[in-house]
C-alpha cells in the first residue's frame, strides 16, 4: 500500500473508500488519511479489527516534458533557485505541495516571464532559508558572477524570505564591478495559492534584472495590494513582519525605486552597471559574533560568547550602549586587535557614542561606531572586511556597498509603520 493507491477501509461495519494520502506530521499515529471521491481528506483511526485493501494501485500520469521557450531577439536573465516557496507546485492527486525541483519547473512557474525575456533557470540548491550558511552565500556569489560574465543581462535569485536580507547583503560585499543587476526575490504566500505574491514579485524582479542597475537589490511587494514592488538596496533592507507580503522595508534609507508593469520609477541615486567583468571576493572570516545586549546580561555571559572570536558586533541599546560592567572586557578585546563594532537594536537611527558617558567610555575602550548599519549587516560586513581588508576600522567606517547612509531626511515617504 502506497500513497496514491485507491483503498477501501472496512471499520465497524462502515466502508470508507478513497485515495491514500501522505501521513500528516500532526496526525495521530494510528490515523490513515484518505481523499474521498468528493475531494475531502478525512482521517480514520485504524486498528487490527479494520480491513484494508487496495482497490487500484497508483500510477503517476506521465507529464509531458515541458519546453522552455527561447526568443533570440530577447535579452536573457538567469533565474537561480535556492529554495523558498516562490515556485511551488500542488499535486492534486496526492495533495502534496513541492517546490520547483528542476530548472524547467522553476522557469515555467510564471510563464508570463517569457513575454519579457528569455530565462536561463538553474536550481543551485533547495534549502529552507533558515538552514543557509555563509558557505551558501559564497556559492551564490560565484554562480551570479559566472552568469553575469556569461552574457546574462541580469540575475534573479529566488530565495526564502526569512534570511533573504542576510544573503543579499553578503553578496553586496562579495560582488565587485557588477555588470548587471542582481535581484533577490521570494514570496510570503507560497505560489501554489491563487493569491500568492510570487507572480508579481517574480515579474517585477525580472523587470529590474533587465534594467541598468549595478547593485544587489531585493524586490518585494511595496504594500499588501498587488500593485507593485519596491526595489530595496540589499544592505539596507530588513524583513520587518513575519507574514505580511510587504514585510521588506528599507531601513534608514529610501528604497531605490518602485517597479510595476509600467516600468521602474527611481527615488534617488543608484550605482549603474559597468561594462567590465564581475569580480568575486567571496572570502569571509566566519569567526565573528553578533551579540544582542539586554538588561542584566552579565559580563561573564558576554565573555563566553566572544571567547576566541576574531570580531564582535554588538546590538546595543539606543544610541549604542551596553552595561558599563562590560567595558573592561571590551577593552581587553580591542587591545588584542579584535574589532568590536557597535550598532543599535532600535534598527532605525544612527549610533552615536559621544552623547552619554557610557558611549564615551565605549569609544575610549576602542569600540567602532557602526553608524546607521543594521546589526546583521554590520556583522556580515565585519566577516567580509576581516577576510579582505587590511585596515579593519577604516573599512568598517567606510561605505562599501551602500550599507551606510550619510544623511536621512526628516520626511521619509517610503517608511513603513506596521503598528
Amino acid at each position: 500500500m502506497k500513497v496514491g493507491d485507491l483503498i477501501e477501509i472496512k471499520k465497524d461495519g462502515k466502508v470508507y473508500r478513497g485515495v491514500l494520502m501522505p501521513h500528516h506530521a500532526f496526525s495521530g499515529r494510528n490515523i490513515i488519511v484518505i481523499k474521498l471521491e468528493n475531494g475531502y481528506n478525512i482521517g480514520i483511526k485504524v486498528d487490527k479489527n479494520c480491513k484494508i485493501k487496495v482497490i487500484k494501485s497508483f500510477e503517476r500520469r506521465s507529464a509531458k516534458k515541458p519546453k522552455i521557450p527561447f526568443d533570440e531577439n530577447k535579452k536573457t536573465v538567469a533565474l537561480i533557485g535556492t529554495g523558498g516557496t516562490i515556485a511551488s507546485y500542488v499535486d492534486y492527486e496526492t495533495g502534496a505541495v513541492h517546490p520547483a525541483a528542476t530548472a524547467e519547473e522553476l522557469a515555467l512557474a510564471v510563464p508570463e516571464i517569457f513575454d519579457l525575456c528569455n530565462i536561463d533557470a538553474k536550481i543551485l540548491f533547495q534549502k529552507f532559508s533558515e538552514n543557509l550558511s555563509p558557505k551558501d552565500w559564497q556559492k551564490m556569489a560565484r554562480e551570479v558572477a559566472r552568469q553575469l560574465n556569461n552574457k546574462k543581462n541580469g540575475v534573479v535569485i529566488a530565495h526564502g524570505t526569512d534570511t533573504m536580507a542576510f544573503s543579499s547583503a553578503a553578496l553586496s560585499f562579495m560582488l565587485k564591478n557588477l555588470n548587471g543587476p542582481v535581484v533577490f526575490t521570494g514570496s510570503q504566500r507560497s505560489s501554489d495559492r491563487p493569491s500568492s505574491d510570487a507572480f508579481l514579485n517574480l515579474m517585477n524582479s525580472v523587470r529590474v534584472a533587465l534594467s541598468n542597475i549595478g547593485e544587489v537589490v531585493v524586490v518585494m511587494h511595496n504594500s499588501i495590494s498587488s500593485t507593485g514592488c519596491y526595489i530595496h538596496r540589499a544592505t539596507k533592507v530588513r524583513k520587518m513582519h513575519s507574514s505580511r507580503r510587504d514585510a521588506f522595508v528599507s531601513i534608514n534609507s529610501n528604497p531605490i525605486g518602485f517597479v510595476n508593469e509600467n516600468g521602474i520609477e527611481f527615488f534617488g541615486g543608484y550605482r549603474k552597471k559597468t561594462d567590465g567583468k564581475v569580480k568575486v571576493m567571496p572570502k569571509l572570516n566566519e569567526n565573528v559574533s553578533l551579540v544582542y545586549f539586554y538588561p542584566g546580561m552579565t559580563r561573564e555571559e558576554f565573555e563566553r560568547i566572544v571567547e576566541w572570536k576574531d570580531g564582535v558586533v554588538i546590538a546595543g541599546t539606543g544610541l549604542g550602549h551596553v552595561n558599563e560592567d562590560w567595558i573592561p572586557s571590551i577593552k581587553r578585546l580591542t587591545r588584542q586587535g579584535i574589532p568590536v563594532v557597535m550598532t543599535t537594536q532600535c534598527l532605525y537611527g544612527r549610533v552615536n557614542l559621544n552623547v552619554y558617558s557610557t558611549g564615551r567610555k565605549l569609544l575610549k575602550a576602542g569600540v567602532i561606531g557602526g553608524e546607521d548599519m543594521l546589526p546583521e549587516v554590520a556583522w556580515i560586513k565585519l566577516m567580509w572586511v576581516l577576510a579582505n581588508e587590511k585596515n579593519v576600522e577604516e573599512a568598517m567606517k567606510k561605505n562599501i556597498a551602500g550599507e551606510i547612509s550619510e544623511r536621512r531626511e526628516i520626511r521619509s515617504l517610503h517608511a513603513k509603520n506596521f503598528i
Partner: protein
C-alpha cells in the same frame, strides 16, 4: 392544468444548507458580525495556479490576466487573517463542537480526524483564492432522507459592488464559520424538500449556537427528472418558496424535453453560426426601438432552423426556451428579438418577410435578431446559437439562480469537480471519545421533544409546534414562566398578533422589547387582553409610555365606580325585561354591558357588578 405526477417523472432533489454559526470566526478571533462597508484596504488580482508540471494553460492564464481586479474593504470585523496577510490560526474549537453536535443530532458518522482543505475559488470572494472547508461527518439521516456530508467551512467575503473589471468586497463576512449540510438526492417531491429543509433548520436552531436573521441561512437545491438533467439552484432565501421553485424547475425541464421531441420530429440538422448584418432592412424602419439601437451599430440576425413556433413555448409558455436564449444573450451584454414574437415592437410584417428572405428561412425556421453594438450583438447571437444547439440534446446541466418570484434564471454552466488540496497551515483535529461523550451529555433538546414540553404550559400542540417552528419558543418560555396564567395570551401575541403585524409592515421587534411592560400592565388589570391588537400596533408606531398608549387608544380599564354607573344605567333602562326574567336576566344584560365595556373593564368584574346591581334592584 392537471397535477404533476412527480413519481412518474422520476423527480429527484437534494438540498445543501449553509448555516452561519454564532461564534467568532473560524480561523481568527474576529467577531462574526456584519458591519458597515468599512474602509478601502487593498486591491488584488487572483491567478489560477499551475497544477501540473509543464501544462501551461495559456487560455486560463490569458483569462486571468484580463481578469478582474478585486477591491477589499475592511472594518472592525476583519484582521490580517482575512486579508491573507497572516496564516490562519487553529480552527475555532467552539465551531467544531457545534458542527459535531449537529452531526450527532443527524445521526451521522463523525470522522476520527478532521482535515481542513483548500477549495479553489478565484472569483475574489476569498482573498486567498480558496475556501477552507473540512468534512466533519458522513451518512446522517433525517426523516428517511440521507445526509451525505456535514462540513465546517468559512463563509466568503460579501460582494458590495461590481463595475466593469472591478469587483468590490467587504471582508466582514469572510471567515464566519458555516455548517454545510448536504442531503443525497433522495427527495421525491417538492413538498418533501421543504419539509426536510425545515427539519434541518430546526435541528440547527436547536443547538442555540446558530445565527438568526436574514442571510444567516442559505439553501441551495439540486433537482432532476428522468429525461431531464441535474440543475443546481442557488440562493433560495425563503423556505416557503422551495416547493414552487422546484415545481417551476420541473415544468421548465418538461418544456425543454418537449422542445427536444418537437425538434427531433422536425428532423433538425445542424445549427450554423451564420450571423448576418440585416441593418439595410431597417434603414427606414418604423420601430423606434430598432432605430435607437441601430445608431450604436446595426441589426444582426441568425437563422434557427426548425425552431418556428417553438421559441414562444410549447407546453408551458412561462418556461419557454425564448427566455433561456434571452438570458444567454444578456450575459454577453445584448438583447434579442425572436421571430415567434414578431411582428411586434414596431417591426412590420414587410421587414419580417425581408429578414426571412435574407436568412433563407422557410416556414419551419425561426430567426433571432440583436441590435446595437456590433461585437455585443454578434457575441449575443453566438450565445443564442450555443444554447439552441443544447436544445437538440434536451436539458443542459447548469447552475441557476433563484428569483423572488420563484422562477430561476441561468447563471453559469455546471462547474467541474472542485479542485481541493490540504490546508497545511491548519493542523488536523483529532476527535477523541471523550469529546464525543461530553457533547452527547450536553446534547440539546430535539424539536419534537421541545414541542411536547412547550404544550405542557397549557397551550395546544398546534400552537406549541408553531412556536418551535417559527423559533419563538424561547421567548414564549421566558414570559410564560414569569406570567403564570397568561400563557395563552403570550402565545396569541407571539403567533397571531405579531404575525399579522408583520404582514402589515410593523416593526415587531419593539413589541418583544416591551413585552415585560405589556404583560405587567395586563396582569395589573390596566387594560383588557381584548385591547392588545390595538395597543400593540400603537406601541409599535409610537415611542410612548404604556400608560400614555392606553389613554391614547382609549382602552384603559374604567374605575369600578364608573363601571357601576354604566351598569346601573343599563339596568334602569331595562326594568320591564328584568321584571319578566328575574335572575335569569343576567346573561342577556351581560351581553349588552360587555358591548359597551369591552376593552374598558374586565369581564369577571362586569359580571360581579351586574349581579350585585340586579340583586339590589330585585330586592327593592
Amino acid at each position: 392544468m392537471t397535477e404533476i405526477d412527480y413519481k412518474k417523472l422520476g423527480f429527484k432533489a437534494g438540498l445543501e444548507i449553509h448555516q452561519q454559526l454564532a461564534t467568532h470566526k473560524l480561523f481568527c478571533k474576529c467577531p462574526s458580525e456584519l458591519k458597515e462597508k468599512g474602509e478601502k484596504a487593498f486591491e488584488r488580482f487572483l491567478r489560477p495556479t499551475q497544477s501540473e508540471l509543464g501544462e501551461v494553460d495559456r487560455a486560463a492564464l490569458e483569462e486571468a490576466r484580463r481578469g478582474k481586479k478585486f477591491v477589499y474593504f475592511s472594518s472592525s470585523s476583519s484582521c490580517l487573517v482575512e486579508a491573507d496577510e497572516e496564516p490562519p490560526h487553529e480552527a475555532n474549537e467552539e465551531a467544531v463542537d457545534i458542527a459535531l453536535t449537529v452531526a450527532l443530532l443527524l445521526k451521522a458518522d463523525i470522522v476520527d480526524e478532521i482535515h481542513f482543505m483548500r477549495k479553489i475559488v478565484i472569483d475574489g470572494s476569498n482573498t486567498t483564492g480558496f475556501q477552507r472547508t473540512a468534512l466533519i461527518a458522513l451518512n446522517g439521516e433525517i426523516n428517511g432522507v440521507k445526509i451525505e456530508t456535514i462540513c465546517l467551512e468559512e463563509d466568503a467575503a460579501r460582494k458590495i459592488g461590481e463595475n466593469g473589471r472591478k469587483v468590490e468586497y467587504a471582508l466582514d463576512r469572510l471567515g464566519i464559520p458555516l455548517i454545510e449540510i448536504a442531503t443525497s438526492p433522495d427527495i421525491s417531491s417538492p413538498s418533501q424538500a421543504k419539509e426536510i429543509a425545515e427539519k434541518i433548520g430546526l435541528i440547527l436552531r436547536a443547538t442555540n449556537k446558530v445565527k438568526r436573521g436574514i442571510g444567516t441561512i442559505r439553501q441551495d437545491l439540486n433537482v432532476s427528472i428522468k429525461e431531464g438533467n441535474r440543475i443546481e439552484i442557488k440562493g433560495v432565501q425563503e423556505l416557503n418558496d422551495i416547493p414552487k421553485i422546484l415545481e417551476n424547475e420541473v415544468k421548465r425541464q418538461i418544456e425543454l424535453i418537449e422542445v427536444k421531441k418537437e425538434l427531433e420530429k422536425r428532423k433538425i440538422g445542424e445549427i450554423r453560426e451564420e450571423i448576418k448584418d440585416l441593418s439595410h432592412i431597417f434603414e427606414k424602419t418604423g420601430s423606434k426601438l430598432i432605430k435607437n439601437l441601430m445608431k450604436k451599430g446595426g441589426v444582426f440576425g441568425v437563422k434557427l432552423p426548425k425552431f418556428n413556433g417553438i421559441i414562444k413555448g410549447i407546453k408551458y409558455k412561462e418556461h419557454r426556451i425564448g427566455k433561456e436564449f434571452a438570458m444567454y444573450a444578456k450575459i454577453e451584454g445584448g438583447g434579442i428579438i425572436h421571430s415567434d414574437e414578431l411582428p411586434n415592437y414596431g417591426i412590420s410584417i414587410e421587414e419580417v418577410k425581408k429578414i426571412r428572405e435574407e436568412l433563407k428561412c422557410n416556414e419551419m425556421d425561426a430567426f433571432v435578431i440583436s441590435a446595437g453594438k456590433r461585437e455585443v450583438a454578434i457575441k449575443s447571437l453566438k450565445a443564442v446559437v450555443r444554447r439552441a444547439r443544447e436544445a437538440i440534446k434536451g436539458v443542459p446541466k447548469e447552475v441557476r439562480k433563484a428569483l423572488p418570484n420563484c422562477f430561476t434564471e441561468y447563471m453559469r454552466p455546471m462547474p467541474t469537480a472542485a479542485r481541493m488540496y490540504p490546508e497545511t497551515d491548519v493542523p488536523p483535529i483529532r476527535i477523541d471519545k471523550r469529546r464525543i461523550e461530553r457533547l452527547l451529555k450536553n446534547l440539546p433538546e430535539l424539536p419534537d421533544a421541545k414541542i411536547r414540553r412547550i404544550a405542557e404550559y397549557g397551550i395546544s400542540m398546534e400552537e406549541a409546534k408553531q412556536l418551535v417552528y417559527t423559533g419563538k419558543d424561547e421567548e414564549f418560555e421566558k414570559f410564560a414562566k414569569k406570567y403564570k396564567g397568561y400563557e395563552k395570551v403570550i402565545s396569541r401575541i407571539l403567533l397571531n398578533i405579531m404575525g399579522e403585524m408583520e404582514k402589515e409592515g410593523y416593526d415587531v421587534s419593539i413589541v418583544i422589547k416591551r413585552m415585560d411592560e405589556i404583560l405587567e400592565g395586563l396582569s395589573k388589570k390596566k387594560f383588557a387582553k381584548e385591547a392588545l391588537d390595538k395597543l400593540l400596533r400603537y406601541l409599535a408606531k409610537n415611542d410612548v409610555s404604556l400608560d400614555v398608549a392606553i389613554r391614547e387608544c382609549n382602552v384603559g380599564f374604567l374605575e369600578e365606580e364608573k363601571i357601576r354607573d354604566i351598569i346601573r344605567k343599563i339596568v334602569m333602562e331595562r326594568i320591564e325585561f328584568i321584571k319578566e326574567r328575574k335572575e335569569k336576566a343576567v346573561s342577556g344584560l351581560m351581553g349588552i354591558a360587555m358591548k359597551e365595556l369591552r376593552g374598558k373593564a374586565d369581564g369577571a368584574l362586569v359580571n360581579k357588578i351586574l349581579k350585585e346591581e340586579l340583586e339590589k334592584f330585585i330586592f327593592q
